[in-house]
């Protein structure tokens, strides 16, 4: 089961941010460019309703794609292996949905503050890679401040406390860790880590919810003031 989850996890933490960004980047900037938004906004609707409607609609698309993708995969796996950990698998799907929605919110934010669709996509790509490389940067800082990566892998040293902040800065890494914690997995590639008590499923999910809400609030504020 652990191996299955690990495989699917790599897949989900790559795919869902991409799906989220693809869905969201054109939602405001693209429709403003094409002129579709200017018609909609002259109808008796409030701007906040329009952007929250987009957020909810796109979140539903995320849910549908996770359920159809990983849901079917889950059924196939459980039939093939008679695995029974369906509860953990549901948590895995829920966290995947959370990751997707997180990137929908981020890309909607860029779409609402940037004039052009192309720049919004650029910003989306940037934020995707931000989540990917921040871990590497953190390792670099760890090595530069005298930490030994080899000792880390051989189990002779463990990460300093500050290293774990990375999970709150990178949505992808945070989401992956949350999934592993949900399954009670504490070993990655045979290495076990001493995770500080404040890094747990609750705190990571909370931080990811903040990652959803903060851009969304800013997106609404910017969209209200935007000239179409």
């Amino acid at each position: 089961m652990e191996a299955t989850i690990a495989t699917l996890l790599t897949l989900s933490s790559m795919l869902l941010p991409i799906i989220g960004i693809m869905l969201g980047y054109g939602a405001i900037a693209g429709e403003a460019e094409s002129g579709a938004l200017s018609v909609v906004l002259t109808y008796p609707v409030k701007r906040i309703d329009v952007i929250l409607g987009k957020f909810l609609g796109l979140s539903c698309v995320i849910c549908a794609s996770v359920f159809s993708g990983f849901g079917i995969a889950g059924i196939v796996i459980s039939i093939a292996t008679s695995a029974t950990e369906w509860r953990g698998y549901l948590i895995f799907m829920a966290l995947a949905i959370l990751l997707g929605i997180l990137y929908v919110s981020l890309s909607l934010f860029f779409s609402s503050i940037l004039k052009r669709k192309a720049t919004a996509l650029g910003a989306g790509i940037f934020i995707f890679f931000w989540g990917m490389i921040i871990g590497t940067i953190w390792l670099g800082i760890y090595a530069a401040t005298g930490g030994s990566i080899i000792e880390l892998y051989t189990g002779k040293a463990s990460f300093p406390e500050w290293f774990w902040y990375e999970l709150f800065l990178s949505p992808q890494d945070g989401n992956q860790t949350a999934t592993l914690l949900a399954f009670g997995i504490k070993k990655i590639m045979g290495i076990s880590f001493d995770i500080p008590s404040w890094v747990n499923l609750g705190s990571i999910v909370f931080s990811q919810l903040l990652w959803v809400m903060t851009p969304l609030i800013f997106a609404v504020q910017f969209f209200k003031r935007r000239d179409i």
Binding site: S34, G35, A36, S38, V39, V40, L41, T42, Y43, P44, V45, K46, R47, I48, K224, R225, D227, I228
Partner: protein, 377 residues
């Protein structure tokens, strides 16, 4: 005049005073002769305005300004669109027409100024006011994989209008035969008609159309023109922008002209002609050029200006004396082959208004091409 009762702060005696809003008066108490000053409060402009425009004004634009970075797209633009009229909003490309329209609709936030629609203040979230407006943008785009029926159903939901109106609207615009074709297969003219259909949902009392016939061929232009008349005959107020002057002349009751973000004029076309003193022209075709001296013609009563081209004399003249002028020219001994009168057009108004207000960038004082920004001197 406003009446007001004030109390003397010293002896509590009540004094009745009279004055105009904003006026400052000195009061002397008749009992204790204490001196005091009272300033009458200024008029509540917003409320006054409401009273003023609740009558027959559909759109009131008050000192709208919009500045993008340092570009002034609109400066203190003010005009009224009366209920039931077709109002032309004219200006060369880039004059600020679309910006002003977008501010009227609450799509763009003005740097300063206000818009009142049927007496109510317009802003981007004013749901009630938006119900009264149908808007056709300059470039309209729909979801290409939907049919017109599906598209209009979506807009009906947005406007909370019963979807049963959709077939009717499609029929009115002659789109019933393509009602189930994908919008992606539509020509530009058909898209524009669908845009019209979209604006007609909920039978709004005000239509705002941004360049409704731009980019269309003459046949479609006529269709669009007929639709504008049709909507107006049904009782709606129509405001549309255009840089095509003939279109405006054929349709509009009144026009306003904007250039470089500044309002140049607001009036009926006839009044503008009168104000600017634009004369009708006679174009007279003649057989032999040699015999004519322009001096002779200039001496005729009612003639203001004479231009002689190869086989044509162009005479700017008094509209009421055209026939007399023809006769007088004959008397001089000029053989007239044919003649034609040209009534003053909005083109002339346009050119005349923009002259002097739109300096040629190359510094040519009297260059007419500057109107199009194409001076090649």
């Amino acid at each position: 005049m406003v009446n007001k009762k004030v109390k003397c702060p010293k002896c509590q005696h009540i004094i009745e005073i009279q004055g105009n809003p904003g006026e400052k008066i000195t009061i002397v108490c008749p009992k204790c002769s204490t001196k005091g000053v009272y300033i009458f409060p200024k008029k509540d402009t917003a409320r006054d305005l409401k009273e003023e425009i609740s009558g027959n004004i559909a759109i009131q634009v008050r000192s709208l300004s919009k500045t993008y970075n340092s570009v002034k797209a609109a400066q203190e633009v003010s005009f009224n669109v009366k209920k039931g009229e077709i109002f032309g909003f004219l200006g060369p490309n880039g004059a600020g027409k679309t910006t002003t329209i977008k501010m009227i609709l609450g799509l763009t936030h003005p740097t300063a100024g206000e818009v009142y629609i049927n007496g109510r203040r317009m802003h981007s979230d004013n749901v009630e006011v938006k119900k009264e407006i149908g808007y056709l943008p300059e470039r309209i785009s729909f979801y290409l994989n939907l049919t017109p029926v599906q598209t209009l159903n979506f807009f009906c939901e947005l406007k909370e209008v019963n979807k049963s109106v959709v077939p009717e609207i499609l029929k009115e615009l002659g789109l019933q035969d393509v009602a189930n074709r994908k919008v992606g297969t539509f020509s530009k003219g058909m898209i524009q008609l669908l845009g019209f259909a979209q604006a007609m949902i909920g039978s709004p009392s005000i239509y705002v159309l941004d360049e409704p016939s731009s980019g269309l061929d003459p046949r479609w232009m006529k269709v669009i023109r007929d639709k504008i008349r049709y909507l107006n005959e049904k009782g709606a107020t129509v405001m549309f922008s255009s840089h095509i002057l003939s279109e405006v002349q054929a349709l509009c009751d009144r026009v306003c002209i904007i250039n470089k973000g500044l309002l140049v004029a607001e009036d009926t076309i006839e009044n503008l002609n009168k104000k600017l003193n634009i004369k009708p022209k006679l174009i007279i075709k003649i057989k032999e050029k040699e015999k004519i001296s322009s001096k002779d013609i200039e001496d005729i009563e009612g003639v203001y200006e004479v231009q002689i081209k190869d086989e044509e004399i162009i005479v700017a003249c008094d509209g009421k004396k055209k026939l007399q002028i023809i006769e007088d020219i004959k008397k001089i001994g000029i053989d007239i082959k044919d003649f034609q009168t040209i009534e003053p057009s909005i083109e002339d108004v346009f050119v005349k208004l923009l002259e002097g207000k739109n300096e040629c960038q190359k510094g040519h004082g009297n260059c007419k091409k500057r109107v199009h920004g194409q001076c090649k001197k």
